[in-house]
Amino acid sequence: MSLALAVAAGILVSGGLYLVLQRTLTRVVLGFGLLSHGANLVLLAAGGRAGAVPLVDGRRGMADPLVQAMILTAIVITFGITAFLLALAYRSWQLTRDDQVEDDREDRRIARLATRRGRR
C-alpha cells in the first residue's frame, strides 16, 4: 500500500467534510465531490500496489481490476445523486432565491416551546 495514497484519501475526506458541514448547498455539493474522491481512493488503496492497466495481453503484474470496477460504479452513482442535489439547489433558488439550507421549522417551533415552558 502507498502511504501517499492513504494520506490523499484522508485529505480529501477532511476537505470534503469541512465543506459538507456548511449551510450553503453549493459548498455541500462540492464537499461531496471531495468526499467521494476520498472514498474512491480508499478503495483504490485497498486494491494494493500500483500495476499495469488490466488488459489481458499476457503481461503480469496488473492492478486489481475489481476495485477499479467498484470505483467506476461508485463514481457514476455519486455523480447521479450529486446532480440531483444540484437540481435541489436550483429549485431552492427558484423558491427562495438562495441555496442556503434552512432549519426545520417544526423543530425550531418545538425548541422555542421547550425554552418557554422551561422558563415558566
Binding site: V13, G15, A89, Y90
Partner: protein, 778 residues
C-alpha cells in the same frame, strides 16, 4: 367452551353497531345475549366445578414464548365469572331504559364496547396462562378507555379516559414484567401450576412487587386511585359494571390468587395490606366530602377495594373466605347503588345531593332499594355485607400477624369501617331525605317522574339478593366456601371451611361490629361538624394533581429532549454523524493501529507530487468564497484524482472520471449562473474551528483505519482471480469492462437505475417552476 364463549362475545359485539342502526336502544337486549349465554353455561357447569373439577380449555398461540390461550375455571373463577355475567345481564337490561329519551349516535358502539368488555373480563377471570391473563387484562383497559370516553365531545371525559388508560397501563407494564420474571423463575406459564409450587428467591420477590403494583393500579389503590373518580364521566351503567362490580376487582382477583401462595413471603403482607389500609382510609375520608352521588360511590369503591386488599392480602384460610364473601357482597350492593344513582340522575337530571330533596318520600321502591344496598355496604346486621364483614373482622382477631402489627391493622379496619358507615348514611340521606335544597340550589324531588319497573328491577334485584343472602347465608355461603377453597387456602374444611352465618354468637367480632356501627353513627350525627372539619383541613397533594403534574413533567421532558436532539439544523446533523462515525469505531481502533507490511511512502515521485498538488487544491477550496472558482478547483481536484488513477493502473477509471468531471462542471455552471456569485459571509471563528476539527478528525480516522485494515490482508484478493477469468468466461480483454458488463453486471444495472432515477428527479425539479412542462403542452 370458554374460548367459544369469548368468541361469542366478539360476535355479539361486532354485530351491535350494525344492529343499533335498526334497533336503537333495544340493541342492548341483543347485547344481553352475550352474558346470558355465559350465565347459562356457568350454571350448567357449576356443580362439576364446585366439586373440584375445573373447566379447562386451551388454544396454542406462541408456545415458544409461553404464550397460550389457556383457561382453567375453578370455583373462584366460577364465582367471578358469575358476577361478571350476572351483573352484565342486569346492566344491559338497565341500559335499555337508561338511554330512553335520547337516541345517542354512539349507542351501538357503547353496546359493542360493553359486550367486548364483558368478554375480556370473562377471559380474565378464567385465564390460567399468565400471558393470556395479561392479554385480557389489557383488553379490559382498552374497553374501559373507550367506554369512559363515550361522551367524547366533553374534554373532561376525554381526559378521564386517557388517565384511566395510562395509569392502568403503567400497572399493566409492571404486571407484565412481573409475570415474565415469575414464569422464568418457575419455568412454566400456568398460573395454577406456578401457585401450586411457588418459586422463591430474590427475582421472585421483585416479580411479586411488580405484580402488586399492577394489581394496585387496576384496583385503584393509593397512590394510583385518581383515575377511578375521574372515570365517573362514563355513563352510569358503565360505572356500575366496570368501575365498581367487575374490572376494578381484577387487581383484587390477582391478590386473592397470589396471597395463599405468597402471603407468608417477607414483602407480601406489609406491601399489600399497607396499600390496602391506606386506600381504605383515603377512600372513606374522601367519600364523606362528596356532593355528587356518583363520586361518593366512587370513593366508596376505592375504600372497599382497599378493604379487599387488606382482607385477601393476609392469605390465611379465614381471610380468603372472608375476602370472597366481601367481594361478592360488594359487587351486589355497589352495582345496585350505582344503578339507583343512575335512575335518579336520569329522572331528576341531577345527582347532586344539594339539590335532591325528598325523593324517598315519593319513590318508596327506589328508596327501599337504595337503603337496602347501602345497609349492606355499611354492614348493618341482617345484610349480606354484615355477614361478610364479621368474617373479615374475625380474620384479624385471629391474626396472621403477631402483636402490635395485628392490632394496628385491626384498628385501621375499624376506623375505615366507621367511615364506611358514615358515607353509606350520607348516601341515603343525600339521595332520599327530605332535607330541603342547599342555599342557592334549585330543589328536585317531588316532581321527579317515577322510573318504570323495567328500569328499577335491575337495581332492585341485587339489592334484594344482598338482603336475602344476609338473612339466609347458607346457600350462598357454600358457594363462597367452594370459591375460597379453590384458591387453595382451605386445606381443612374445618372451622374455616364452615359456611357463612348470620349469628355467630357473642364473639369479639360482634363487639367490633357494634363499635363500628356506634362510631359510624357518631360520625353521622356530627356530620355538620365533620364536614366543616374536612373543608378546613389542609388538603394534601391529591393523586389527581400528581397525575397532572406527571403529565406536565413528561411533556416538558419530551419537548426539551427533542429540542436538543432534533434541532433541525443540517450542519449539526452532519457533525453528529461524523463524530459518531469517528468516535465509536475510533475508540476501538486507536488501541489496535497498525501499518501494512508492504507500505511504501509513495509509488513514485509523480504520485507524491500529485498528492501534494491535491493537498494544495483542497486547502484552497475550503477557503474560497467565489462559486465559479470553487467549481473550477473541484474540477482540478477531480483531474488530479484521475491522475492518481492513471498512476495506479486505472485507464477506464481515469477516462470516466475526466468525462464525469467535465460534465459535472457543465451542470454546475448551468445551475450556478443563477446563484449569487459569492457564498454568504463566513460564520464565527469558533464555528469554523469546530468544523475544521471535525473534518480533520474524519480524515485522520480514514487514513489510520485504512492503514490498519491494509495490515490485516493475508489472502490474495478476489480481483486477481478475475483477471484469469476475463477472457475465457467473459470473452473480453478489458477486465474492468468485462466485470462491469458481465461478472458484476448487476452492479451496473443498479448504477444505471440510479442514473435514470436521478435524471427523472432532476427533470421533475427543474421543470416544476415552469408550470406545465413544455413536453406536456405539445
Amino acid at each position: 367452551m370458554i374460548p367459544a364463549l369469548i368468541a361469542w362475545h366478539a360476535l355479539v359485539a361486532s354485530a351491535a353497531p350494525v344492529l343499533a342502526r335498526r334497533l336503537g336502544r333495544r340493541v342492548f337486549l341483543w347485547c344481553a345475549l352475550a352474558p346470558a349465554v355465559t350465565l347459562g353455561w356457568i350454571v350448567a357447569v357449576a356443580p362439576k366445578v364446585r366439586a373440584g373439577d375445573p373447566a379447562t380449555a386451551s388454544i396454542r398461540w406462541v408456545p415458544a414464548l409461553g404464550l397460550e390461550l389457556g383457561f382453567r375455571m375453578d370455583g373462584f373463577g366460577l364465582l367471578m365469572a358469575g358476577v361478571v355475567a350476572g351483573i352484565g345481564l342486569l346492566v344491559f337490561a338497565y341500559a335499555r331504559s337508561y338511554f330512553a329519551g335520547h337516541e345517542h349516535p354512539k349507542l351501538g358502539a357503547l353496546g359493542a364496547h360493553l359486550v367486548g368488555f364483558a368478554g375480556a373480563m370473562f377471559g380474565l377471570v378464567t385465564a390460567d396462562n399468565v400471558f393470556a391473563l395479561f392479554v385480557f387484562w389489557e383488553l379490559t383497559a382498552v374497553f374501559s378507555f373507550l367506554l369512559i370516553g363515550f361522551e367524547d365531545t366533553k374534554g373532561s371525559a376525554r381526559g378521564a379516559a386517557r388517565e384511566a388508560l395510562l395509569i392502568t397501563s403503567l400497572g399493566g407494564l409492571a404486571l407484565l414484567a412481573g409475570l415474565v420474571l415469575l414464569t422464568q423463575a418457575a419455568g412454566r406459564a400456568s398460573l395454577a401450576e406456578i401457585l401450586a409450587s411457588p418459586p422463591r428467591g430474590g427475582t421472585v420477590t421483585a416479580a411479586l412487587v411488580l405484580v402488586v403494583v399492577g394489581a394496585a393500579t387496576k384496583s385503584a389503590q393509593v397512590p394510583f386511585h385518581s383515575w377511578l373518580p375521574a372515570a365517573m364521566e362514563a355513563p352510569t351503567p358503565v360505572s356500575a359494571y366496570l368501575h365498581s362490580a367487575t374490572m376494578v376487582k381484577a387487581g383484587v382477583y390477582l391478590v386473592a390468587r397470589f396471597a395463599p401462595a405468597y402471603g407468608a413471603t417477607g414483602v407480601w403482607r406489609p406491601l399489600v395490606i399497607g396499600i390496602g389500609l391506606a386506600t381504605m382510609l383515603v377512600g372513606g375520608y374522601r367519600a364523606l366530602r362528596q356532593h355528587d352521588l356518583k363520586l361518593l360511590l366512587a370513593f366508596g369503591t376505592i375504600s372497599q377495594l382497599g378493604f379487599l386488599f387488606v382482607v385477601f392480602g393476609a392469605g390465611t384460610p379465614t381471610a380468603t373466605k372472608a375476602g370472597t364473601a366481601v367481594l361478592l357482597a360488594h359487587a351486589l350492593f355497589k352495582a345496585a347503588l350505582f344503578l339507583v344513582t343512575g335512575i335518579i340522575d336520569h329522572q331528576a337530571h341531577t345527582r347532586d345531593i344539594r339539590r335532591l330533596d325528598g325523593i324517598g318520600r315519593h319513590h318508596r321502591l327506589l328508596a327501599a332499594t337504595g337503603i337496602a344496598a347501602a345497609a349492606s355496604m355499611a354492614g348493618i346486621p341482617l345484610s349480606f355485607g354484615f355477614v361478610a364483614k364479621e368474617l373479615a373482622l374475625e380474620t384479624w382477631i385471629d391474626g396472621p400477624f403477631a402483636g402490635p402489627g395485628n392490632a394496628a391493622v385491626l384498628a385501621g379496619v375499624v376506623v375505615a369501617s366507621m367511615l364506611t358507615v358514615a358515607y353509606s348514611a350520607r348516601f341515603v340521606w343525600g339521595a332520599f331525605a327530605a332535607k330541603g335544597a342547599f342555599p342557592g340550589a334549585r330543589a328536585v324531588g317531588a316532581d321527579m317522574p317515577a322510573p318504570s319497573l323495567a328500569f328499577l328491577a335491575p337495581a332492585a334485584l341485587p339489592a334484594a339478593a344482598g338482603v336475602l343472602f344476609g338473612l339466609v347465608p347458607g346457600r350462598i355461603g357454600s358457594l363462597v366456601v367452594d370459591a375460597a377453597a379453590a384458591l387453595g387456602s382451605v386445606a381443612a374444611k374445618g372451622p374455616a371451611g364452615a359456611g357463612l352465618e348470620l349469628w355467630h354468637g357473642f364473639t369479639p367480632a360482634l363487639g367490633l361490629s357494634a363499635l363500628v356501627l356506634t362510631g359510624g353513627g357518631v360520625l353521622v350525627a356530627a356530620r355538620r361538624r365533620v364536614e366543616r372539619l374536612q373543608t378546613d383541613a389542609p388538603s394534601p397533594v391529591g393523586a389527581a394533581t400528581g397525575y397532572q403534574r406527571s403529565l406536565e413533567w413528561l411533556n416538558l421532558v419530551a419537548d426539551r429532549t427533542t429540542a436538543v436532539l432534533q434541532n433541525g439544523s443540517l450542519p449539526t446533523y452532519v457533525a453528529v454523524v461524523t463524530i459518531t462515525v469517528v468516535v465509536v469505531p475510533g475508540a476501538v481502533l486507536v488501541r489496535h493501529l497498525q501499518v501494512p507490511d508492504g507500505l511504501v511512502a509513495a509509488e513514485s515521485w509523480v504520485q507524491l507530487a500529485v498528492v501534494g498538488l491535491l493537498a494544495v487544491a483542497v486547502g484552497a477550496l475550503v477557503r474560497i468564497h467565489r462559486r465559479f472558482a470553487a467549481v473550477l478547483l473541484v474540477g482540478a481536484v477531480g483531474f488530479l484524482v484521475a491522475g492518481l488513477f492513471v498512476l495506479q493502473g486505472g485507464a477506464d477509471l481515469a477516462l470516466t472520471l475526466v468525462l464525469i468531471e467535465t460534465l459535472g462542471i457543465v451542470i454546475f455552471v448551468l445551475v450556478l449562473r443563477h446563484l449569487p456569485e459569492r457564498f454568504r459571509a463566513p460564520v464565527g471563528r469558533g464555528v469554523v474551528a469546530a468544523r475544521a476539527a471535525v473534518a480533520v478528525a474524519g480524515g485522520v480516522f480514514v487514513t489510520g483505519f485504512l492503514l490498519t485494515a491494509g495490515a490485516a490482508r493475508t489472502a490474495a484478493p478476489v480481483g486477481e482471480a478475475l483477471i484469469d477469468q476475463a477472457l475465457p468466461l467473459g470473452g473480453g480483454r478489458n477486465v474492468v469492462n468485462v466485470i462491469l458488463t458481465d461478472f458484476r453486471a448487476l452492479d451496473t444495472l443498479g448504477e444505471i437505475s440510479v442514473l435514470l432515477v436521478a435524471a427523472l428527479g432532476i427533470g421533475a425539479l427543474v421543470t416544476a417552476g415552469r408550470g406545465r412542462s413544455r413536453e406536456e403542452q405539445r
